[in-house]
């Protein structure tokens, strides 16, 4: 037995949508009880109204100052995104994260900021980090991903995962209905079937097949 990946093209998902209903509708007749429904974390966040226009954010002095230090291709390079990170994690944790990042630089290690300030901050997509029409928004990570995957399993009968995948072959499973689903999703989503541009395939069925 092996696993195959079936990406499903959806409409442009907005805050008007309910992610559990979408999972049911688009995977109907395809995903069975032994299969896994994988959902891209950014669309879960969008349906939770966590896509925020920068105009709606008032960056404080701390955000304006601190956004100068992260990598410019990273997620917290604009004052708006840094302000939202401060609101999510609190200024003390952000400052501790900065101190850890500074220490990491001294010893030549990356990733200390998120280790201390919080993994959820790594899920923030800064302006232009998501496909049209959400390129004007800052997208925060999804809330309560465990609850969402459980609801998808109840509604569809299939296992479910929420994943953050990029084109650099990094797969981060935010929540899964079982450890086995998490392991299989981590292996099978490595080529980023969600796409990184206009693909519109934020739902993927990972299906068990005979080799």
């Amino acid at each position: 037995m092996g696993w195959t990946v079936i990406p499903i093209r959806t409409h442009v998902i907005t805050e008007q949508d309910d992610i559990v209903s979408l999972a049911c509708r688009y995977t109907q007749g395809i995903a069975g009880p032994n299969d896994i429904i994988a959902v891209a974390e950014s669309v879960v966040a969008i349906t939770q109204k966590r896509a925020i226009l920068p105009d709606a954010v008032r960056p404080g002095l701390a955000a304006r100052f601190l956004c100068r230090f992260p990598a410019k291709h990273g997620s917290l390079a604009t004052p708006g995104a840094m302000q939202l990170a401060i609101q999510e994690a609190g200024l003390p944790r952000i400052l501790l994260g900065c101190a850890a990042a500074f220490f990491g630089r001294l010893i030549g290690k990356k990733g200390y900021f998120y280790l201390v300030a919080g993994r959820e901050l790594a899920l923030i997509d800064d302006i232009a980090g998501t496909m049209w029409p959400y390129e004007k928004h800052i997208i925060l990570g999804p809330k309560e991903p465990e609850k969402i995957v459980r609801s998808i399993r109840e509604a569809t009968g299939s296992e479910a995962v929420i994943a953050d995948v990029n084109d650099l072959k990094c797969v981060d499973i935010l929540a899964a209905t079982s450890p086995e689903s998490s392991r299989i999703a981590k292996e099978t989503l490595i080529d980023n079937p969600f796409g990184n541009d206009d693909q519109q395939t934020p739902l993927v069925v990972i299906k068990k097949v005979e080799n």
Partner: protein
């Protein structure tokens, strides 16, 4: 037919390659191999699939890859789905299939007409600024002189695929005077001169694209509009301005354009310039514009 034999359509996408094969391809993914019929009405190919229902969303996909304009997926009564593929040229089509899960059906269209149109065309691309002149600066850190050089190299690569002869006024970070930039176009007797820049505004909320044209060319405005239209289709930015640029009149009768696809001072548009696929879209948008220009003025 038994219910379980129905094919479920899951995904449709398009890609192109301009190597020895020169193909635009539409790929349809489904849970079973498809039964289909192919018809053609002028430049529209209708691909009707029988005993199939769409699980995927059915809408119109804007492709504009130089051959395929749009793909429309239309569910019909009686478990039928028709996919209409609108082309800009009456290109031959072949269908191949790959079984498996998902099963893939490939509709392949020849792009050979692009070679015929572009072969022998001399195009000079001028990446603006350079050296001691950085041009505009984005709110985070990008510099105009660097991003326009990346744009120019990407555009050169796309034009080389369709056999155009292409020169860049600069290949690295060097300063050139305005007359040095125009000189190459005149020396090469270029069919078109394209100067790449980004727009800049003190107001970081302003975003969009600007196209300037050589007022000394008799159809400058019309050709600039064609270029702008094609670029907008690919990069989905607002048009701020289409305007004559006096500095291009030194080109004389050569059609010349200064294209500013985005406003670098805008937070969102600077962010878009960090995405490599955005440069690809700009290059294809300009290539589509040139295609229209060459079709509308053969010499």
């Amino acid at each position: 037919m038994k219910g379980q034999e129905i094919a479920r359509l899951t995904n449709i996408w398009s890609t192109y390659q301009q190597d020895e094969q020169q193909l635009s391809r539409v790929i349809i993914e489904s849970t079973r191999p498809l039964t289909f019929q192919l018809r053609r009405v002028n430049q529209v190919v209708a691909f009707t699939i029988y005993n199939a229902i769409p699980n995927m969303y059915c809408d119109t996909l804007a492709i504009y890859d130089g051959l395929i304009n749009e793909i429309t997926v239309q569910p019909e009564e009686g478990n039928r789905v028709t996919i209409y593929i609108a082309l800009n040229h009456n290109a031959p089509c072949t269908v191949t299939r790959l079984n498996g899960l998902p099963a893939r059906t490939f509709l392949c269209f020849s792009r050979a007409h692009l070679d015929a149109l572009f072969a022998g065309r001399r195009i000079v691309i001028d990446p603006g600024h350079g050296g001691r002149d950085p041009g505009g600066r984005g709110p985070v850190d990008l510099l105009e002189k660097n991003v326009v050089l990346t744009m120019a190299k990407k555009l050169k690569a796309e034009l080389a695929k369709v056999k155009a002869q292409v020169w860049l006024t600069r290949e690295g970070d060097q300063y050139l005077t305005p007359s040095e930039r125009l000189k190459l176009a005149k020396e090469m007797r270029a069919h078109v001169f394209i100067s790449l820049h980004t727009n800049y505004s003190k107001d970081s909320r302003i975003g969009g694209l600007v196209v300037n044209y050589n007022p000394a060319h008799h159809a400058g405005l019309r050709l600039a509009r064609l270029t702008c239209e094609e670029l907008v289709r690919k990069i989905k930015r607002n048009v701020l301005e289409i305007k004559a640029a006096k500095e291009l009149s030194g080109l004389g009768p050569i059609p010349g354009f200064k294209i500013k696809p985005v406003t670098i001072s805008n937070w969102v548009e600077e962010g878009l310039l960090r995405n490599p696929t955005f440069y690809e879209k700009i290059a294809i948008g300009v290539l589509n514009g040139l295609q229209k220009i060459f079709l509308s003025s053969p010499e």
